[in-house]
């Protein structure tokens, strides 16, 4: 197997202010399916094209934002072997026992110098309602709402993103398909990192406040589905941020909007195929507008300041 170690961002736990509103949004607007609701109030959902038990966890809380993102790894051996390397790099590792989330095995967790909690896990049950395996149909039934097929990536804002890059690349074997450089010095304003063929599994923007969430993104099939998502946003009066548009960076076709608690969502299609031997695509600071919003060619204030 050529594809080893970290496989993908597989689980994300998001804080919401009101669970009923959040369920309506993630289920009826995004089109994820509810897998289970647990005694502690957390709600578990998945996209129609995901095999694993769930990918999105909603937790009602007093503040919006990101609890953590968890990456699925290829084996329990990897989980055992990576732990001392994470510790040696300088992060404290804690353990979350199997069963803390339904269908999920043990997880290990740590906090990045950007203030974001990251977890790794290997074992997760297969969903009951999984994509077809034997003579598979496209899907069993037409998805609801935007029909988001899976959780795709996230963008985090926080300090020390250079350290985060070092950690992901040196310890977890990620690579960096793309970056935006700062006008002075050799630091970056923004970095896109992947463990896979996707242009990004996780991205960071340098920002003084730690642990902030910019957006959680879900995959659509094509530009037509992004257009249909825009229709659904208007029909349901969902809070729109920007789009439909395209990113120069990653080339993804996109629309940004907000969940009812103010967490930014993205639905995304396309984007190039990344390989670890490709050069790092670089954007100069004075081209960042086009990099982020390819058609508008300018950043808006909201992109840099509206976070949860």
């Amino acid at each position: 197997m050529a594809f080893k170690g970290v496989l993908r961002p597989g689980l994300i736990q998001i804080r919401v202010l009101n669970m009923d509103e959040a369920i309506n949004h993630y289920q009826n607007i995004l089109g994820l399916n509810i897998v289970s609701t647990e005694a502690d109030g957390r709600v578990y959902l998945k996209g129609w094209d995901e095999f694993d038990h769930h990918s999105v966890v909603l937790r009602q809380a007093e503040s919006a934002g990101l609890d953590y993102v968890a990456f699925k790894v290829d084996s329990d051996d990897y989980l055992r072997e990576i732990e001392p390397k994470i510790v040696a790099w300088g992060l404290e590792v804690d353990h979350v026992p199997a069963g803390e989330q339904p269908g999920v095995g043990r997880r290990i967790g740590f906090t990045l110098p950007t203030g974001h909690r990251i977890e790794l896990y290997h074992q997760i049950d297969m969903a009951e309602d999984h994509p077809g395996i034997n003579n598979p149909d496209i899907y069993q039934r037409r998805p609801d709402g935007m029909g988001a097929s899976r959780f795709d990536h996230l963008l985090c804002y926080g300090p020390n993103i250079g350290k985060a890059r070092e950690f992901f690349c040196d310890v977890l074997d990620f690579y960096q398909p793309e970056k935006v450089d700062l006008p002075e010095g050799d630091g970056s304003l923004a970095i896109w990192l992947t463990a896979s063929n996707k242009a990004h599994d996780i991205a960071f923007v340098e920002h003084e406040e730690p642990g902030k969430l910019h957006h959680v993104a879900f995959l659509l099939q094509d530009w037509n589905e992004v257009g249909a998502a825009a229709d659904i946003i208007s029909i349901n009066d969902v809070s729109l941020d920007i789009g439909p548009t395209r990113h120069g960076i990653t080339r993804g076709q996109t629309i940004y909007f907000f969940d009812p608690s103010g967490n930014r969502n993205e639905v995304y299609a396309g984007g190039y195929t990344a390989y670890p031997d490709h050069p790092v695509r670089s954007w100069d600071f004075d081209h960042v507008g086009k990099g982020i919003f390819y058609y508008e060619r300018s950043l808006n204030d909201r992109f840099l300041t509206v976070l949860t």
Binding site: L17, N18, Y157, S239, D301, R302, L304
Partner: protein
């Protein structure tokens, strides 16, 4: 029932129904003054202080509005509906991600109008 909302910082005034949040009322009429962010009580950019009048408010993210804020009638315009004529002053700092960000010229800027 419609009430009159006055934004003191820029002497803007607009009507707002009790079915609408202060932010919706402003945005819908194409008015400016309060920075517009998530519209969901999560990001905190629409912070305003109500200097006169009465209002009702929905749940706001604690990380952007503290109890002390609330006791000073500081609220999020996207979670607050008028129950009388209101005067408000914009108190949210449109905090810059980087001071270098000023180098970027933005045109479609709903937000900067507010603070400046």
């Amino acid at each position: 029932m419609r009430y009159r909302v006055t934004i003191e910082n820029c002497s803007e005034t607009y009507p707002c129904s009790e079915q609408q949040t202060l932010l919706q009322g402003m945005e819908q009429l194409g008015k400016r003054g309060i920075p517009v962010g998530c519209r969901g009580g999560g990001c905190g950019v629409c912070r305003v202080q109500v200097t006169s009048g009465t209002f009702s408010k929905a749940k706001m993210s604690r990380s952007v509005i503290s109890e002390a804020d609330e006791s000073k009638r500081i609220v999020l315009a996207c979670r607050c509906t008028p129950t009388s004529d209101l005067s408000i002053s914009v108190v949210g700092k449109m905090q810059k991600a980087l001071s270098a960000q000023r180098l970027i010229e933005t045109e479609d800027d709903v937000s900067v109008a507010a603070v400046g």
